[in-house]
Structure formats: structure tokens, C-alpha cells
Symmetry: C2
Subunit: 105 residues, 2 copies
């Protein structure tokens, strides 16, 4: 349980027809490419029951600076470049200030 103000990210994207699982694998690879000390605390990748090609994801970071540094790093940016051609459109999403986080896992 925490009321620390972590930096949060929500993103939603749709893959080209039939390419969703490749997109998930690349997202996962991108998250790992940042390394264990990137400041990325938690993430989830979720399929959407209403659309077989859509995923949404959430991320919690220690702070915005860690997010920016990691996502711009060469290792992560290289994965992002491989991921973009799988998308059917522009990703949507929001940044956030996580005012409350509770974790029982």
C-alpha cells in the first residue's frame, strides 16, 4: 500500500489483423529491455474482450524522469521501432499521477 505519487501510464493500441500476439511479445520485450533498475515498478498487458486485435497496458514508474530516460534509451527505442509497423493506428493513452496504489499480490 502506498500513497507515494508514482508516475503512471495507460496505453491502448490495436494491432493489424491477426498480429496482436506479436505486439504483446514485443511490448513485453520492450519492458524487459529497460533492465531491472529502470524505475519501472509494475506493468500489465491486457487483451480486450471486445476486440481480438486490441491490447491495453498499464505501467507504474518511480517518477517521470525514469520513464523518459528508459523509453528513450537505445535498447527500448529499438524495440519500439520494431513494434510500430504492427499497429493498425495511432496508440491512445494517458499519463497520470498515481495518488493511490494498493497491492495485495
Amino acid at each position: 500500500m502506498s500513497d507515494a505519487h508514482m508516475f503512471s501510464v495507460y496505453g491502448r493500441m490495436t494491432a493489424l489483423p491477426g498480429r496482436r500476439d506479436e505486439l504483446i511479445a514485443l511490448l513485453h520485450e520492450g519492458f524487459r529491455a529497460g533492465g531491472d533498475d529502470s524505475g519501472l515498478l509494475t506493468y500489465s498487458i491486457n487483451t480486450a474482450p471486445e476486440d481480438p486485435d486490441t491490447i491495453w497496458m498499464t505501467q507504474l514508474w518511480t517518477d517521470r524522469a525514469a520513464h523518459d530516460a528508459t523509453t528513450r534509451s537505445g535498447a527500448v527505442a529499438a524495440v519500439t521501432q520494431r513494434l510500430l509497423p504492427l499497429l493498425a493506428g495511432k496508440p491512445e493513452g494517458s499519463y497520470g499521477d498515481a495518488v493511490y496504489v494498493h497491492d495485495r499480490t
Copy 2:
């Protein structure tokens, strides 16, 4: 780390002007009202930098049945009824199947 398929929820809502913090307090009360054994594993409440009246939240549940039973329970539904008048519009959101969850917290 887990690849168990938990049930996930994303929701986004906008409060009447100036009422966001009351909305956050009620959301928090609603999450707690389900009790410790509700099946709600993780949640976050996030403010949105682009709009001072908007919040978005994420939830991870053990499964859909736990989510449905808890959100329909009297204690949680009573909080939901108090929350609705604070909203400026209809909430948006998605359900999901959490195909990958990683937690370093």
C-alpha cells in the same frame, strides 16, 4: 511476476468542476468496502495531468466472478450510489484479460 490470466479493469471518469478529490476519496472508500478477501489484488487511482477534474484507475482481480460479486455487493454498491452524483458524464473504460503482469513493488 505472473502470467496468470487475472481479470483487469481500466476506468476513466471526470468529476464536476472542483469535485475530483471527493471522487477520489469515494473511489478509495469503495475499494476498501469490498473487504480484504474480495479478490481485488491491486488497484491504482491516478489524476490526469491534462485535466484537473479527471481521474483514471486500474484494477486487477483474481477473476471476473470475484469482480462481479464484489461490485454488486451491498457495501460497494452503496458507495457507488454516492459517487455517481459527483460525475460530469458517463465513465469510460475497458475490461481486460491480464495476459502479463510484472510487479517489482
